[in-house]
Symmetry: C2
Subunit: 594 residues, 2 copies
């Protein structure tokens, strides 16, 4: 079945759950024209349905090939990329002075979800390009920007992000790729990078590589790394392409999923070194990397939302179509579609609820980042920046965790058919599995939430958010609406759990950091299921008063209730896991022997 | 890294957690000689390490091929199967009068875990053969048994189990394969079966197919189906093989996992019909199917345990070996192995704890079934039969659910390397994905637990088990051992949750069955995490007094504590989900629209 962008759900989440409407009306989003939102989303959905979705399964099957001329992508890929860039989709949020449309990151984020839902392997190319744009825009010299930025923003020349080496994964400071300065101010790079997404391909005339390397005599570890830009083809003074640079894909990986996205080993220095230019300052690579990484983390979270939504859509269609037996209480004469069975309903609600919660967390992250750049009031900007920073690890980790859970349930709903590759449901299980790993594993995200984001000004960003969530809780409770069931109580308990657990952790970070770290992952989950539950409730309240909503708006209360009673309800247990089990985690050495 | 059977963990689980020792000492296992246990397990482990494990990854890569001569298995497969049957491994629990070794199902179950851990695609052939043995032994005529049973038990002729048709999956009564009675008392079968595991292969001279079909004029649905036996090659009076029967593999599936296990479309009737013999009575197929299915469900649970254990072993080895950065509080001069990080420890403990809990649930199911056959006291037999019936859906569903969770964490521990197929961790994610589906989806298991097993004599089997669990809780609490942390309180709460939830469900099954069904899956999980938590605590208590245990026996208390504080602790939330969320599940129709 064909992907359809869930425009209603997206608008409700973006406008109300994530607060785009309120932010724009308060003037915190600059001159953004709210009338554009729905039109952009609908157009993106159309492109995804017509062009990207049909290539998804064939691309997964065909994969990519390494030839003498470099990496060949799957049939149709190059043409789709051309159409995509020509329609302006790569330039949605790019700065206008370099040809971008200057739309908020929030709008860009919605489109990112839509591309991922229809074709995550395709989405990876623009996702990495966006990171490159961010880094070059923030740290590059005017000269480099003049040559490369407009091409990156249009997508005519996609970018890559080259950090990882065999010994340097999460510990990027351990990298060994060597940079040598030349008399003309340029550099030569020598070394090998692994796991480079779209490191080479045939979809564009040129590729702009962003590479972390080490200069001789630099400090050890992450303080001694520098970000470089190296094009695949050198660029002549007139903008035409010149010689092939000395950076090549020397291998491609055989992966569990995202088969149509080339994951390359890149070799530099076979022919005298790759010609490269420093981006930012020498030994300033770490800061530049975080610029690249931060929005990429949100982007990966949105990939999680996209894949989850696609898995849900497919499972729903199957459950409506597939007939087996007779459900209890059925008055059908023939057999029932399996959606009539309570257990199948539960699975589908879990898929939809987790996807919707993750979506709003991601969109809210984007809206906060937008406000941190666009608001005129400095205090508003600072508060929004803290909010965006706090939400980013949850956007990344929670959304990608649930994408794996949702994709697995999607196969389950299909029964035996789900295990057959031709059905299409299994691909999402394979594709989603990388999302919890790349751009910082979810363990790294949990540590980031704890050790950086919670700690920021003694938890101020957390208390600020919890106050907002408490308002939602009171609104649900005072609505006295039976459709919410026990939602109010579940959310109230959860907010209290987050507060207590955050305080306990803040104390432990100071007194016994290993005890705090032992609970990082359940803390991230606790916070996310609380935030997700409150967000869905907020949307359910808003849906009733939003005249643009189609159909029975009470359905959003049912969804919020289901999520609160089945997911947010775990808050108390997660709190106990954080607080009780540090001893068992840190005392695990005697258990963890072969 | 190579698979090693975790003999210590297995013995502790089997003897103490699952109660093999007590059952044998009380004389409930007939003449079973306890001295055999360790020796059999060690020998099985050796065979798995030496023969099956090395074929696992190559088999996954090579897959199977459909040729003119039938299905060709991967290189080395045929030889391994020959060695395996010649070593007597197929005959472990078969009846002695037909050449079996007559060992308890519990011992057979341990070996099943070990084969699955080392090579789940291989294990599927004997798993299905075992179902065929059970059906033929319980329902077959003496004549059929004389010809086929010894060959099935030795494994010389493996069996198949042919139920599914395109329109008849979970609803097996919808099948259309047609049987026609012949003048000589035999039958001819016409039709197509799908998803037939090892439906054809080249590992043996003959294959004995067990096929559900429908006779003309039979009642509609499941009351009108009959079980037939049809050999691949006819058997002459002297036992030699005769003509090729009219049943052929006409297609093989391209699946997410278990690539080395052929999943066939079987066609009967191209040349006059497959010659077949009735097993049991005409229209008695449903009873025969449940005989086949019941132990197969336990067998699939053990596959879950095996795959989970293998994923854990691989992740542990990687975490001990892979060095990245420096953990908080580390006094190492160089970088630390990632196992030094609390978050990685947590992941590994979760893998090990869930695997150990599932293992004991499966073994306890087997011990109960053994007692139901071997005890001399009729009351003991009846109680054990009820226990085995109650535990079977949990053994199947919980073990296979956690196998997916554990396999996913296994990839996570490997970081980016885990996503690369050559690493080996990703295969477990692919392989495990079928386990929650075949032999009755886990949704079907949850319904079975609720509507059959809980309901049996008004919940008597549940109250009986909860009493035993309460004894464990008291022992943990009265041990006053700080190593248990908050384990006692967590288990006490959980047992109370199971009791309250069971009572609520019993009432609802009578008054509002759809409300009960809406909570079937969280109920199964609630029961399983409670039973698993109590089992691990029981083993921790026993380990201290078992002089045969190696190393620091206190490690089992740490594991039990970790599980109680991170998994069993979810009991309260699961109870609330069952009781609170029926309305949201059954009111989902307004939400579940495209």
């Amino acid at each position: 079945m064909t992907y359809r962008a869930p425009v209603d759900d997206i608008l409700l989440s973006l406008n109300h759950g994530a607060g785009l409407l309120a932010a724009a009306k308060a003037g915190h989003l600059g001159d953004y024209d709210l009338d554009m939102t729905a039109a952009v989303i609908e157009e993106a959905g159309k492109f995804a349905t017509d062009i990207l979705d049909p290539l998804n399964q064939p691309g997964d099957r065909a994969g990519v090939k390494l030839t003498d001329k470099g990496v060949a992508t799957a049939p149709g890929w190059k043409d789709a990329y051309k159409q995509w860039t020509e329609a302006g989709w790569n330039a949605v949020s790019g700065p206008e002075e370099y040809g971008g449309q200057g739309l908020p990151l929030a709008i860009h984020s919605v489109t990112n979800e839509i591309w991922s839902a229809s074709n995550i392997a395709f989405d990876l190319c623009p996702l990495l390009t966006q990171s490159a744009i961010d880094a070059l825009h923030a740290h590059g010299s005017e000269e480099l920007k003049a040559i490369y930025l407009a091409k990156l923003i249009s997508g005519e020349w996609p970018g890559t992000m080259q950090l990882t080496e065999p010994q340097a994964g999460t510990d990027v400071g351990a990298l060994r790729t060597r940079a040598e300065k030349q008399a003309d101010g340029s550099y030569r790079l020598f070394g090998t990078k692994i796991f480079i997404t779209y490191g080479d391909h045939d979809m564009s005339d040129n590729i702009v590589h962003f590479i972390l390397a080490r200069l001789p005599g630099s400090p050890a570890g992450s303080k001694g790394i520098t970000l470089f830009l190296a094009p695949k083809f050198m660029v002549n003074a007139d903008g035409s392409l010149g010689a092939r640079n000395d950076i090549h894909a020397s291998g491609i990986e055989h992966k569990l999923g995202i088969h149509a996205s080339p994951t390359c080993t890149m070799t530099m220095g076979d022919k005298g070194g790759a010609i490269a230019y420093v981006v930012g300052k020498e030994n300033g690579g770490m800061a530049a990397m975080f610029t690249m990484m931060n929005q990429a983390r949100l982007g990966v979270g949105l990939q999680g939302v996209g894949v989850a939504d696609r898995a849900y859509q497919r499972a729903l269609a199957y459950a409506q179509d597939r007939k087996q037996g007779k459900a209890v209480g059925s008055t059908n004469t023939g057999s029932d579609p399996i959606i009539a069975y309570p257990d199948v309903k539960r699975n589908l609600m879990l898929m939809r609820g987790m996807t919707a919660a993750a979506r709003t967390i991601c969109y809210a992250t984007a809206v906060a980042i937008d406000m941190s750049h666009r608001a005129t009031d400095e205090k508003v900007r600072a508060r929004a920046a803290a909010r965006g920073a706090l939400l980013t690890p949850m956007a990344k980790a929670f959304s990608t965790d649930i994408s794996n859970e949702v994709a697995a349930i999607g196969v389950q709903v299909h029964g035996g058919m789900g295990f057959m590759e031709e059905t299409g449901a299994a691909q999402y299980v394979r594709d989603a599995r990388i999302l919890t790993i790349y751009e910082g594993t979810n363990g790294v995200q949990a540590n980031d939430l704890l050790m950086r984001k919670l700690q920021m000004s003694g938890g101020e960003a957390v208390w600020d958010l919890l106050e907002e969530l408490s308002v939602i809780v009171r609104e649900v409770e005072s609505s006295n609406d039976p459709a919410f069931g026990t939602t109010g109580a579940k959310l109230r308990d959860a907010v209290a759990s987050v507060e207590r657990t955050s305080k306990w952790l803040l104390e432990k970070i100071a007194s016994a950091p290993r005890d705090a770290l032992a609970g990082a992952t359940p803390y991230l989950r606790l916070f996310s299921v609380t935030l997700g539950g409150c967000s869905l409730a907020k949307e359910a309240l808003a849906a009733r008063n939003d005249e643009s909503m189609q159909g029975d708006t009470g359905r959003y209360a049912t969804l919020a209730r289901f999520f609160a009673e089945n997911v947010t309800v775990q808050s108390g247990a997660l709190e106990r896991s954080v607080i009780d089990s540090a001893d068992a985690v840190n005392g695990a050495d005697a258990v963890l022997v072969a």
